[in-house]
Amino acid sequence: MQRYLISRVIQSIFLLGGVLVVVFFMIRLTGDPASLMVSRNASEEMREAFREKMGFNRPLYVQFSDYLYGVLQGDFGNSLHFKQPAREIILERLPATFQLATIALLGAVIIAVPIGIIGGSNPGSFVDSLGRALGLLGQTIPNFWLALILILVFAVNLRWFPTFGRDSYLSVVLPAIALGLGSMGQLVRLTRSAVLEIRNDDYIRTAKSKGISQLKIGLRHIARNTSLVLISVIGVIYSYLLGGSIYIEIIFSWPGLGSLLEQAIKSRDFPLVMGITITFSFFVIFINLLTDIAYAFIDPRIRYGG
């Protein structure tokens, strides 16, 4: 197992390096980063001065190694708009994004997994129909639209929750629902199909042939093995929720990385955009790594294997 873990860590580091390359060169897609970052009606002299200041007139590899060197020390450069280190702004916004994604994930898991397990164990039952409906709903309703509808109904009309901001514990409710619904649907579907598949596995038949009760088979054999499948799924969903919170954060003016990304894009603050993208990717890679490690510890086949 040690070898497996070490190779996964090395893989993750390489992946992160690749992300840095992609993000760095993405900004140069148009050929002239200065034209991206300086407002369109600026004079050619101002542009030239900007190029000089940012070092865009140096060879690309020098620029890249400079940037890489900075990032390795946790330095994403200065934000053009806020005139302070991008890292500080990002760190300040990070907790809000994590809070939103985590609450959305927990809500989705708490609701979806039991419905998926019970529904999958009793195909055609009421819970199963409910689960399938939720699954379809989660796939069909765009979260940005759901956010608007939630605001309209629960904030504007009923006034149960605030329409925007992050001021009280009530503030997180609507954004978390809007963000989590899609993932909840996905999770119901995946849980259900995992249960359906495991239910037909031969070892479940063995358990039945031993005379074990349906409930104990459900808890000891099906739920346990389903949760193994779900660990990796939940990891993927968590990283999706982190990156997918952009719309929701913007609509609810949630002070996280997503709404910061929008601001940065609007003000053409590309050092900040790059920093945010790298931060998001870092956490996606990190969560995937954690998921694999957790999986390795829980699944005996990996734990005792290679």
Binding site: G211, D299, R301
Partner: protein, 336 residues
Amino acid sequence: MILQVKDLITRFYSVDGVVYALNGVNFALNAGETLAVVGESGSGKSVTMMSLLGLIPQPPGKIEGGQAFLFENDKPQDLLKLSERQVRRVRGGQIGFIFQDPISSLNPTMTIGKQIAESMIEHLSLSQSDARKRTVDLLKEVGIADADRRFDSYPHEFSGGMRQRVMIAIAVACQPRIVIADEPTTALDVTVQAQIIELIQRLQKQLGIAVIWITHDLAVVASMADRVLVMYGGTVVEDALVEDLFDNPQHPYTIGLLKAIPGATGLGEERLESIEGSPPDLLRELTSCPFAPRCQFVFDQCWAKLPPLISVTKHHRAACFYDVENEIPRKEVEHG
């Protein structure tokens, strides 16, 4: 007699129509004997055994008729009429199961010890520590070295043969009266097969268990069975003591089956033959002999109705209207 199955009918309601899997299966099992069940895949061997204990997936499967009496102190109880709770007491308690594929039949995320102990805790109301003690003894009994440590191993750490030993331990954990072994050696290496057969036979003698052995390997049948059921198209077509079956097969299908095996008939140098035609279409309801389309002795009566099991001698019955030996139609006397 400890088990008697009468006119068992099982069907599957699938997307493509009704699958007539079992069309009236009849047989009996005596205490302590080894009953081999042979037939090609789709003939209903496994479905029969799983139907008895409600192990077929329902839906799409449905048991539509018949009785299955399990005798306890000569008192019969119909397995098909038992409540879920009562059937559970029979499963694992009275009747143990050994499945074909020991790799997929064990839960990969549970230690093998727990998987064996699970059934003892359920049926014998043992405490965790007692169950562990007995499981370790049982593991030794089925030939697993270092049993105490192996209790906490996971299935993937075992070889195929050792996993099948674990499966056997599970099947006999609660000292059942019947063990149903569904092709227990098919997935194993030839060298391991003999060991597994030997182990089951030893336990059978030790514990006085009757074994129902599902197989398509007639060599295994010849070496270990007391009695043989031949199944075809979801029915039992022949039921005979093992010597009678090999020496004096009565059903044309059995005859064909034996001719297809080198040296099995004991008739000396004979050309191997295969049975022409294809297995019966189970999507149609059986109204005539299922073997009629492939049978060289077929005559009008065969198409008229499904042949019942007709007694040939005291312990030998065949579901065929034609007496192949004497080349005359058989006198139809329903079995008693």
